[in-house]
């Protein structure tokens, strides 16, 4: 039977929103910025491949560049393949600070219930930074609280990539999901590897029936192989993912 007459406005895959928060502060000048752009470009094809091979989600990506203030570099959700095809490099902000609080607020607004489709899958937020937050007192905390007050922000897969061991800080631990480690790139040459690992987490953790505990363990193992201390980086609490969606 090929004839189908179905009431309603048609069907489509569920959106999976992926927001990249890229540190473009002054300290990213030079090699770090170049490496970050290379890493982001390298990550996109992995996500394109995953989106093509899986059956569940349409991956929509946005990029927030942040320094003293947040700036939506890719403001509207775009299919990852489209972004990959028309990629333009991010640029650092001269003298820009690393103010994460306003950036979290911007992401919170993007994930507000009235901005997100009800049928959207659990979103993913990837924070990439080379330094400690430089927010005014209370700014980081208030911004993070605003993000976590939204249902989607609270339940999002929140990943952090620290460029340099010093960047793997207590604030990043407060941002990240409890069951995934902060991914540390000890040098600029490791940034691409960490973003690929992050892309695997973003993609696989949204799949049906995936054993997220096992996947988180793989991420921790990846961190161990690259020298980070999983005992510190990821607390082995029960998984937050109580994914009873599918």
């Amino acid at each position: 039977m090929t004839e189908t007459l179905m009431p309603g406005g048609g069907v489509a895959r569920r959106p999976l929103h992926f927001i990249v928060m890229a540190d473009c502060s002054g300290s990213m000048k030079g090699e770090k910025m170049q490496a970050l752009n290379y890493a982001l470009r390298s990550m996109l094809p992995h996500l394109v491949d995953w989106e093509r091979d899986q059956l569940q989600a349409q991956l929509l990506i946005r990029i927030l560049a942040f320094a003293s203030a947040p700036n939506w570099y890719v403001p509207d959700p775009v299919p990852v393949a489209e972004l990959s095809a028309r990629w333009r490099n991010l640029e650092y902000v001269p003298m820009g600070r690393t103010n994460m609080g306003p950036a979290f607020r911007a992401v919170a607004e993007a994930l507000a219930p009235d901005r997100l489709e009800r049928r959207a899958l659990r979103p993913a937020v990837l924070l990439i930074t080379d330094g400690l937050p430089t927010d005014p007192p209370g700014g980081f905390e208030q911004g993070l609280a605003a993000l976590l007050e939204t249902p989607a922000g609270r339940s999002a897969l929140r990943l952090a990539v620290a460029i340099g061991r010093d960047a793997s800080s207590e604030p990043l631990d407060r941002f990240r999901s409890q069951d995934v480690p902060v991914l540390v790139a000890d040098g600029t040459d490791e940034i691409a590897d960490r973003l690929v690992t992050a892309s695997i987490a973003v993609s696989r953790m949204s799949e049906v029936g995936v054993n997220r505990e096992a996947l988180a363990e793989q991420l921790i193992q990846a961190g161990r192989q690259h020298g980070s201390d999983p005992a510190v980086q990821a607390e082995r609490r029960p998984l937050r993912f109580d994914d009873t969606i599918l």
């Binding site: 090929t2 009431p7 895959r13 569920r14 049906v208 029936g209 994914d243 009873t244 969606i245 599918l246």
Partner: protein, 371 residues
């Protein structure tokens, strides 16, 4: 008057006295890919003298709910059984003293149906575990500290149509959409702020009784053409954010143009389309309860429309599905059609079923089973 047969004596001879329930269930494409079974379930039973009870349930997909397919089967079975008992209790009531039947039905929902469903489901799960203990492999998937019932976690959507009354109960996600005579939707089940689209309440939850949402509709005051019960695989596939509106408008139109046999033939394709990789890829199960008014709508002119078969369809601007005067081939790409044919054939032979309370729909023997 709340007994199921309340409206029957006043019906003209050619008017159907009861509801017809059409059901379909399709394993999600994502579940096919990872070789997990369809974790949804659906059941339909008679209720009272001329009523019907229908239930759909969605077993949770997370690995900790490793026996959720069994859980959903138990849920619909127990839901229908308790629904029948509720109908019996309502049928035994003394109508002369029943000044506020809606309150009485609501009270019975809260005091009897909901606690009975929760208790019996838990008892049935524990009995199932006792009869078939978790294997070592299953134990490896269970989370430390989980009660056995967590492995069977499921939602449940229940609809009991009894004469002039529609009785609804739901725990967890999924959709209940009523279609009014004018084609507008009604969403009778109260919204649950716990359901943020990311997690769901469940029969396996610690306060399952409290998480149930209920509704009682007096159909003499607000008559309906039909009611849709659907697991979230259906709604999550819909492009439109407010899809119940277009669904209702289109279904009301369809009911004026097509008979029950045609509708029964289409329902499995609806489920298959939603469950496909073009939709939610999730298990999708629907129970469509068609009221007597809906069964009699064929040939009637929907409000605001002409009776010209070539009239502009209600969603002429839609690229996906509209309601043209004649059935047209769907927009499935050519390369996918062979797979779709096989998929849909499997659905129709394996899952589609049809239920009638008082009469069979025209030609009901073709394709679908009638109970």
């Amino acid at each position: 008057m709340t007994t199921p047969a309340a409206g029957a004596p006043t019906l003209p001879p050619d008017r159907p006295a009861g509801w017809i329930v059409l059901t379909a269930s399709q394993r999600g494409a994502a579940h096919v890919a990872v070789q997990t079974q369809n974790q949804d379930s659906v059941a339909v039973e008679r209720a009272g003298t001329a009523g019907v009870v229908a239930a759909v349930a969605d077993g949770h997909g997370h690995s900790r709910h490793l026996r959720s397919a069994r859980g959903s089967r138990l849920a619909v079975s127990i839901g229908c059984r308790v629904g029948q008992e509720l109908a019996d209790q309502l049928g035994q009531a003394d109508d002369a003293d029943d000044a506020d039947p809606a309150s009485r039905i609501t009270g019975l929902l809260r005091s009897f149906l909901v606690p009975a469903v929760v208790q019996r489901w838990r008892e049935a799960v524990l009995a199932d575990v006792a009869a078939d203990p978790f294997t070592d492999a299953e134990e490896g998937k269970r989370r430390s500290g989980d009660e056995p019932v967590v492995a069977y976690g499921s939602t449940l959507l229940l609809c009991i149509a009894l004469g002039d009354w529609l009785v609804l109960a739901q725990i967890g996600d999924g959709d209940v959409v009523g279609v009014r005579l004018d084609g507008t939707p009604t969403l009778p089940i109260p919204a649950d702020p716990q359901l943020d689209g990311l997690v769901t309440t469940s029969l396996c939850g610690p306060d399952a009784g409290g998480d149930f949402r209920i509704a009682v509709l007096n159909l003499t005051q607000a008559p309906l053409l039909a009611v849709l019960l659907a697991t979230d695989g259906y709604g999550n596939a819909q492009v439109e954010q407010e899809w119940p509106s277009s669904f209702s408008k289109d279904l009301a139109w369809l009911l004026t143009r097509r008979d029950m046999r045609w509708l029964a033939s289409q329902l499995p394709a609806w489920a298959a389309r939603c469950a496909s990789a073009d939709g939610s890829a999730d298990d999708t199960t629907i129970a469509l309860l068609v009221a007597p008014a809906g069964q009699m709508a064929q040939g009637e002119v929907p409000p605001g429309r002409t009776d010209d078969p070539s009239a502009v369809p209600p969603d002429a601007g839609s690229e996906e599905i509209t309601i043209p005067a004649e059935i047209r081939t769907d927009t499935v790409p050519t390369a996918q059609r062979a797979a779709s044919r096989a998929e849909q054939a499997a659905v129709q032979t394996g899952v589609a079923e049809q239920f009638t309370t008082d009469r069979e729909p025209p030609g009901s023997s073709a394709g679908s089973g009638v109970r």
